[in-house]
Amino acid sequence: MRIVDSKTKKVLMSKDYNFSFDKETGVFHRWGRTYFEDPQFCPYGPEILDLEISVGDCAGNCPWCYKANSIGNGYHMSLETFKEILDKMPATLTQVALGLTDISANKDLIPILKYSREKGIVPNFTLAGYGLTEEILAEVAPLVGAIAVSVYPHNKELAYETARRFLQAGVKQTNFHLLYYQENKKHVLDVLNDYVEELAPKVNAIVLLALKTKGRAESGFTPMPQDMFNDIVLNCLEREIPIGFDSCSAPKFEKFARSKGYDHLLKFTEPCESALMSSYIDVHGNFYPCSFMEGIGEWTTGISVLDSEDFLTDVWYHPRLVGWRENLLNNCRNCPVFTI
């Protein structure tokens, strides 16, 4: 296996698993022995890290928050811990998605972004827009690859304004994150209409995220049925609204694509890649297959990355993760826990 890591690209070459990542655009290609093969697992370590750097201190206080974050009760990852974790990650890592509550919830955010860049890892994060000052915006904008702004009914105008500010600050890949479930179809369509009618800014993409019934979303919220999902996706494609999805939505999107004649989009879909290509580490430095697995079943506790001596041996090939991987692959990479 050989990795070429330059200022603008990271390329991994091996017999059965290859990728190329453009650090300036985020464009990523993965293939196997030939361009026509899709490897199901990266044996050399994760490509992506989802890293939680704060909990609590979240002004959004959303009724569906799977993390049950709320105002106050804050805890954040220190710069030192962040460095320790990033230093332990294998050279396969291309980018990190930081799990942040309010933008001011981690006082080390800027040094964290800077350190990530120093290591050649592109940092990205999501916010709702609360507490975004001009000073923070000016510091953050040149450091991130992408920003996502969560759009909920109770922060819609703030979200639009926040996205406008990031776009004006030069972050071309400013996205909207739009949670979808049966009860909020109207909100989803409202945001899509706002995009078309230019009431919302022309963001890079509207990323649709599937509801998982966890935390505060455990009761009163229903995953969106397939036909309702199909209507929304068709609505986007017919009106040329740029869309994206979380990998949890991939099986639903694949059903849509195969039944509606959009098979050519399948190469852009990636079903669950938890612990196959991606990784999640919580605010205390514990590894889980993804953020939704935290505290569930055999994942009531994670695998300590901070205590590991060698990430590949102690974490990536930990027996619990090997078992998880086997189960996920046997389940055709469908979520083994949540109904999506």
């Binding site: 989802d50 890949q173 740029p242 994206g244 979380d246 190469k267």
Partner: protein, 140 residues
């Protein structure tokens, strides 16, 4: 191959972005050598391991042909000449039809029928009506 069109902004699970305007892998800005690929004189791109014969043999054939056809290059070193190197057709699996590409298959079908691509698309539309019907026919 799987393609992601932008950075992963989702802190909960990784996301992908569809490009509704369509995306060509040929727009992929990457040096061929970086991914162990080579190109033949007719523009076919493939992994080095699929060269017919050895890489060395292909290089020698290329150099011999180049020098024979361009005597003015005789003072150039082999290393300099190889900077602009492409695989000769004799060593290319596509030129030798060891592998037939979908593009060549389409070109043959169009030439046999004396059709343009647009005319073929029109015929498909008339015969099948919907993509589902087309898929049913193709998959038998």
């Amino acid at each position: 191959m799987k393609i992601r069109q932008g950075f992963v902004s989702n802190s909960s699970s990784s996301s992908f972005v569809c490009d509704v305007s369509g995306y060509e892998v040929s727009g992929f800005d990457l040096c061929l050598w970086e991914v162990g690929m080579v190109q033949c004189k007719n523009g076919h791109t493939f992994r080095e391991e699929y060269i017919i014969g050895s890489t060395e043999e292909a290089e020698q054939t290329y150099l011999a042909n180049l020098k024979k056809n361009n005597p003015e290059l005789s003072h150039w070193t082999d290393e300099d000449l190889l900077n602009d190197y492409y695989i000769p057709a004799n060593n290319c699996p596509v030129c030798q039809f060891t592998t037939v590409t979908e593009r060549d298959i389409l070109a043959l079908v169009l030439a046999d029928k004396d059709f343009t691509k647009e005319q073929l698309a029109e015929e498909i539309k008339e015969r099948f009506g919907t993509y589902e019907e087309f898929n049913k026919f193709i998959r038998g």
